[in-house]
Amino acid sequence: MLDSAMAALASLADPSLLIMLLIGTVAGLIMGLIPGLGGTGAVAILLPITFGMEPPQALALLIGALAVVHTSDTVSAVLLGAPGSASASVTMLDGYSMAKKGQAARALTLAFLSSMAGGIIGAVGLTLAIPLARPLVLSFASPELFMLTVLGVALAAVLSRGNIIKGISAGLLGLVLGMVGTSPTTAEERFTFGSLFLGDGLSLVAVALGIFGLAEIASRASQRRGQTENITVGGGWGKGIREWLSHWTQVIRGALIGIWAGVLPGVGATAGTWLAYGQAVATAKDKRQFGKGDPRGIVGPESANNSVEAGDLIPTLLFGIPGGVPSAMLLGMLLTYGIQPGPSIITEHLDLMYLIVWSFAIASILGALFCFLSVKQLAKLTKVPFAVLAAGLVAVMLLGSFQEGGQLGDLWVMIILGVFGWLLKSTGFPRAPFLIGFVLAIPLERYYFLTDSLYNGLDWMARPGVLVFLAILILPILWAFIKFIRARRNTNLDDGHRDERPEDDESPLKDSTWSLAAAGIFAAAFAAALISSASFSPEARLVPQLVSIGGLVFSGILLFIEIRTRLRGRTPKAGQTIAEEAEGILATQPAKAGWTLDAKFAFKTFLWMTGFLALTAAFGYLIAVTIFIPAFLLIVARARLKTAVVYTAVLYVVLLALPSLLPIDLPQGWLNTLV
């Protein structure tokens, strides 16, 4: 074991690996600064670049980025009070308060060092998990692996924030979407409507970039103005380092909470950081300074959000169930290389495991170092308005999703899923179970049929491993049910809230016509899947039918709840006090909000993306970029003409040079095929 660990470290001396790790780290730091991208965006954008590479190089690049995304996302949270990712909003509470007092350098030192330590402790946790889980993993056979995939989707659905019914519906729809293409058992085509393009299944990059990337751009593109406040970083780095050392227990505690949050599927970096913050507050005797610049409010959460990403990798690599969205994509990548996580990665690819560990640790150190060296420049980048960044991001994301299959169809899928992702985000559906379901759909089916053919009837259910997983599957559902009952009876007032986060305003269109529409789309999609699966052969039909029947049940409940709240909102009960009535009006108001300003803007942005894609289809990518970028910058972002010209020129040159530097193809248009 130690041998393979050392061998992996030695292999990192290979210049090509080291360069990839460096590129990944720098790219991850930059993407951490861009609001809304986070680990998901970083992996999704970098994944296409890795398609032509060997697995070690690809992993070094992706892990390098993943390890440091949460190091740089702190910069804008501390300096501007505008977090670069949802998990950095925790650091904002105390970090921004410190910055306002002129102690930005102190806050940033604490944050960078904690991020670094969190990453290293996370990597250590990953290392220790390998020998601990090894005997367990090696005892797994197909029934256990089948249960694990079910568990992966189910836990992600139950544990991710928001409504459980919404989570389960999203997870099931992800499973259905993942089954589009060729059935793993009978090799017949499912849900393809005779299309050759859909026969290969949907591309993971297109789905991830659509559901998360484009949706995020659409909901943020209305931010035209950047921060105008003057940024003063100030001094006091040395003092910060000494202060950080005095909080070492908080660092370790935060990192351990982060690892645990990472191991649980669906509990991502955001929930992990809030847990760490709650822990820091709970263990402090003097709570006065929290929210006003308490160093303990920065150290623990910052350490946690980096170790979450390492914790995510533990179930991903050892059990094949992704702990979060970025690792779900990593899992997808490993599968395309033919590397099966779970038993086979431990026996055959142990060197890759240790390469991941080392890359994670080294990238964490490099990331913190780069942040210290370049914090002034990074601070400037946070001043760029999001709308200006959005133009380039759209171009990059579309190019990225073209790389997997080289088909324009993937890009259309991506935009459609972008609209759907935006709908999910704004109506309070968790998107993580959707993507995890999408990734696990095929493994789930394959393991089921393996199990079914190896065992008589339901004998496999009696295997001890399976029974344990069944228990793990049922407990959280039971738990959530008890909590729901207590909330209904209003007997939960005294229950602890430490595991909960403050209400966020991320889903402004909850309980409106929009969420009714979303529930309707879910129900319709499941119904359509059920009907069209009737024509499949019995073997290919089983899993899609089960999933869509389950989906119909849950989306039916959702639809019922939505309709009921809509009806209730309209008829105020008699005998209400004025205040209650006023509250009732306030509560129903969002329900009446059809086309809110944000919704209009989001749809306009999607129209722009569609236009861009139409241009690409007609004239090719390069021409489309030269038209789309300046138009978007001038009309939507309202940037200055000079900015638009320079921006377009730089992007054009980069795109022209890119195919010769990296294995990247630019989409050709209808015009190019004529010429």
Binding site: W274, D286, F290, T577
Partner: protein, 127 residues
């Protein structure tokens, strides 16, 4: 002087509020109400006006405050420490050992973490 009441829309919370008002009048202290329930359903405007009138008759003032902290127990402690209150009034509810173990208890945390005297009342007293 300030008395802090941890209010929640339930019998215990209302009892705590009643006792808190009595205590504030007795001690000639201001009353600080912190809402600890989930959601934003605080006190209604009419009730607040009533309380304010009663306190004003005794020459005291009513304050409302909330905290950035997510856990209501932590929030109460933070506000109490921040405002340097003289007493926290909370309403108790009977909870089983298992219930407290599994679900946690906000009241228990306030009792254990508070750095000032705590007055605990229950809604179902013997008459």
């Amino acid at each position: 002087m300030t008395v802090l009441v941890a209010y929640a829309p339930a019998p215990e919370g209302r009892e705590a509020l009643t006792q808190g008002i009595a205590e504030a009048v007795l001690r000639k202290a201001d009353l600080l109400v912190v809402h600890v329930g989930r959601g934003h359903h605080g006190l209604e405007a009419k009730d607040l006006k009533d309380i304010e009138d009663r306190l004003q008759a005794a020459g005291q003032a009513l304050h409302l405050e909330s905290s950035v902290l997510a856990d209501p127990g932590d929030a109460v402690i933070q506000i109490a420490q921040d405002r340097n209150v003289d007493m926290i009034v909370i309403g108790l509810r009977h909870r089983s050992m298992v219930g407290k173990l599994i679900l946690g208890s906000t009241v228990q945390r306030i009792l254990l973490d508070a750095t000032c005297p705590v007055l605990a009342v229950r809604a179902d007293r013997l008459n």
